[in-house]
C-alpha cells in the first residue's frame, strides 16, 4: 500500500504533461483564445460565472479553456480562485427594474406596458443544424435595429397583479441590512435555512440538478402550477459604498437573468385566495436555470405557505445539500482515488465472514 503512494510521483507528472498536450489538441489547429470563448461561447461563460459564483468573463473563459470545456471542472477552478482574493464588501441590492433589457417576456399577459421583447433567443428556431456555421469566414448576420430603443421604464409584470392585491407582496422585511443576510461563502449551510440562503444556494447550484427538480414540480411532485410572470435578461448597474467615500458609487454593470413565477395558492381562513411567487436570478444569460430556480424556490416555500410536504423538491435539506456540483463532484469522484487501506480491511472482513460461514456449514454437516 505504502509503495503504491510513493511510486505515483513520476506517473502524476507525466499524466499532467499528457493532459496539457491533449488539451492543446492538434498543434496544426489554431489555438483557442479567451476572447473567442467570451465572444462565441457566451452561454458556457454564463454558466461558469453563475455556478462558479463569480462574475468575471475572462476568468470564466480561462477556466473553460483550462478545463477543456468541462464546465464543472471550470466551475471548480473558479471557486478555488476566488478564495485567493480579499472581500471588499457587499454591493447594494441590484435593481432589476432598472435593467438595460436584452430580453423581456411574459407568459401571463399578452399586451403589457413595455411589450414582449424576444431578444437573442433560441426560442422559435427550428433546432435544425445550421451547416452554414460549419463553413468558416462567412459574414455574420447583422441584427436589425429599431428606430426607437426599448422604453426606459418597463414596469414589473407582477406589479400589475400586486396593484389589485391578487398576489402576495414582495417587501424587504424588518431587517434590511446587508450584514443580516446569510452568506454561504462565510457560514456553513444550516437548517432550517432562510429564503436568503436558499436563493444563494440555488443561484450557484447545478443547472442540471435544479432543472430536474423544477421539472419534477411540473410533473406533479409538489404541484404548484407555475406561470412565468416575467423573464428579464440584461445589464444592471452594481452599486457599492466604499468605506473611505461613505456614499454609493457604480462600479460597473453585470449581465443577469431573472424569472418571476406566478403560482397558485388556495388561501386560508385568514387570507383570501392570492397568487404566490417563485423567484430565479443568476449571473449571465441563463434563462433555463432561472426558470427552474423559480420553480424550486416556490416549492421550498412549502412550510412558510402551510403546504403539505410530500416531494423531494420541497425538502430543503435534500435540495440544498445536493445542489452544489463542486461538493457533489468532489464526493462522487473521490471514490476513484486510492482507497487501498479501506479496501484491504473490507477484503479481509469478507474473507473472514466467508471463512466463518464455511466453518459453520462444515460443522453443521458433520453434526448431521
Amino acid at each position: 500500500m505504502y509503495v503504491a503512494v510513493k511510486g505515483g510521483e513520476k506517473a502524476i507528472e507525466n499524466a499532467h504533461r499528457y493532459l496539457a498536450e491533449e488539451r492543446r489538441g492538434d498543434p496544426a489547429i489554431e489555438e483557442l483564445s479567451l476572447k473567442q470563448i467570451t465572444e462565441q461561447l457566451s452561454h458556457a461563460v454564463s454558466r461558469v460565472m453563475a455556478e462558479g459564483s463569480l462574475f468575471d468573463r475572462e476568468l470564466a473563459a480561462l477556466a473553460i479553456k483550462q478545463a477543456r470545456g468541462d464546465l464543472i471542472e471550470a466551475i471548480f477552478l473558479i471557486r478555488a480562485y476566488r478564495t485567493t482574493l480579499p472581500r471588499f464588501g457587499y454591493s447594494a441590492p441590484i435593481n432589476t427594474a432598472d435593467m438595460a433589457l436584452d430580453r423581456r417576456v411574459s407568459a401571463t399577459f399578452k399586451d403589457l406596458p413595455g411589450g414582449q421583447i424576444l431578444g437573442p433567443t433560441f426560442d422559435y428556431t427550428h433546432r435544425l443544424l445550421d451547416f452554414a456555421l460549419a463553413a468558416e469566414g462567412l459574414e455574420a448576420e447583422q441584427a436589425k435595429e429599431a428606430e426607437e430603443a426599448v422604453d426606459e421604464d418597463v414596469p414589473r409584470v407582477l406589479e400589475l397583479l400586486n396593484k389589485e392585491g391578487l398576489i402576495e407582496a414582495a417587501v424587504p422585511g424588518e431587517s434590511d441590512e446587508s450584514s443580516s443576510v446569510g452568506d454561504l461563502t462565510r457560514e456553513p449551510l444550516e437548517f432550517p435555512a432562510g429564503r436568503d440562503v436558499r436563493l444563494q444556494n440555488l443561484a450557484r447550484g447545478d443547472e442540471g440538478f435544479i432543472l430536474s427538480l423544477g421539472y419534477s414540480t411540473q410533473r406533479g411532485y409538489a404541484r404548484n402550477h407555475a406561470f412565468v410572470g416575467e423573464i428579464r435578461i440584461g445589464h444592471v448597474a452594481v452599486e457599492f459604498v466604499p468605506e473611505e467615500l461613505g456614499f454609493a458609487i457604480e462600479i460597473g454593470d453585470i449581465l443577469v437573468s431573472e424569472c418571476e413565477t406566478v403560482n397558485q395558492f388556495q388561501g386560508s381562513k385568514k387570507v383570501p385566495a392570492q397568487f404566490t411567487r417563485g423567484y430565479g436570478l443568476a449571473f449571465g444569460h441563463c434563462e433555463r436555470k432561472v426558470i427552474a430556480m423559480a420553480l424550486v424556490d416556490r416549492a421550498l416555500r412549502a412550510d412558510e405557505l402551510g403546504e403539505e410536504k410530500s416531494a423531494p423538491v420541497q425538502d430543503e435539506e435534500f435540495v440544498l445539500s445536493h445542489s452544489d456540483n463542486i461538493q457533489a463532484t468532489g464526493f462522487v469522484e473521490h471514490i476513484k482515488l486510492p482507497h487501498y487501506v479501506d479496501f484491504q480491511s473490507e477484503l479481509e472482513l469478507v474473507r473472514r465472514l466467508r471463512a466463518n460461514a464455511l466453518r459453520t456449514q462444515t460443522t453443521l454437516e458433520a453434526a448431521e
Binding site: 482574493l85 454591493s91 433567443t121 429599431a146 426599448v150 436563493l199 444563494q200 418571476e260 443568476a282
Partner: protein, 156 residues
Amino acid sequence: MSKGKTENNHEARRCWMGVLARASVDDLEQHWMREGEGVDYAFLRPPETGLVMTQGRADGTGQRFNLGEMTVTRCAVRLSDGMIGHAYVKGRDRRHAELAAAFDALLQTSSAGEDIQARVIRPLADKFDRAREARSRKAAATKVDFYTMVRGEDTA
C-alpha cells in the same frame, strides 16, 4: 460647506466615477496621454483586486440575498497638490483602476475639474450611451407586435 452642496458634489462625483468605471482602459489611456501630461501622483493604495459580493432581492423587491461575487479592482492616488482620488472598477485591470483614480483626483481640482468633465467624462458618457442605445434598438426590433395579427384577422 452646506449639506446640500456636499450632496451635489457627491452626486457629481458618483456620476463621473460611474463613467470612469464603465470606460475601456484604452479610452482612459488615450485621454490620460492628453490630460495627464505633467500630472504627478503617488499611490495611497496601489491597485488591488478583490471581490464584492453582489446582492439581489427575492421577487425583485423583497428580502435581500447574496447572488454571487464579482471581481473588482480598487486604487487610491494623491496628486502633488494633495487632492485624493479613488476608484473601484469591475474586473481585474489594475491600470484601469489607477487611471480612474487619477482622473477622480483631477476632477475634484478647481484648476482642471471642469475641463476634464467636458473633454473626458462627457465624451466617455456619450460613447457608453450610444453603445447602450444601439443594443437597446436591437432588442426593440424583436418586440412582438400582437396588434398586427389582430388587424390581419379583421381584414380576412
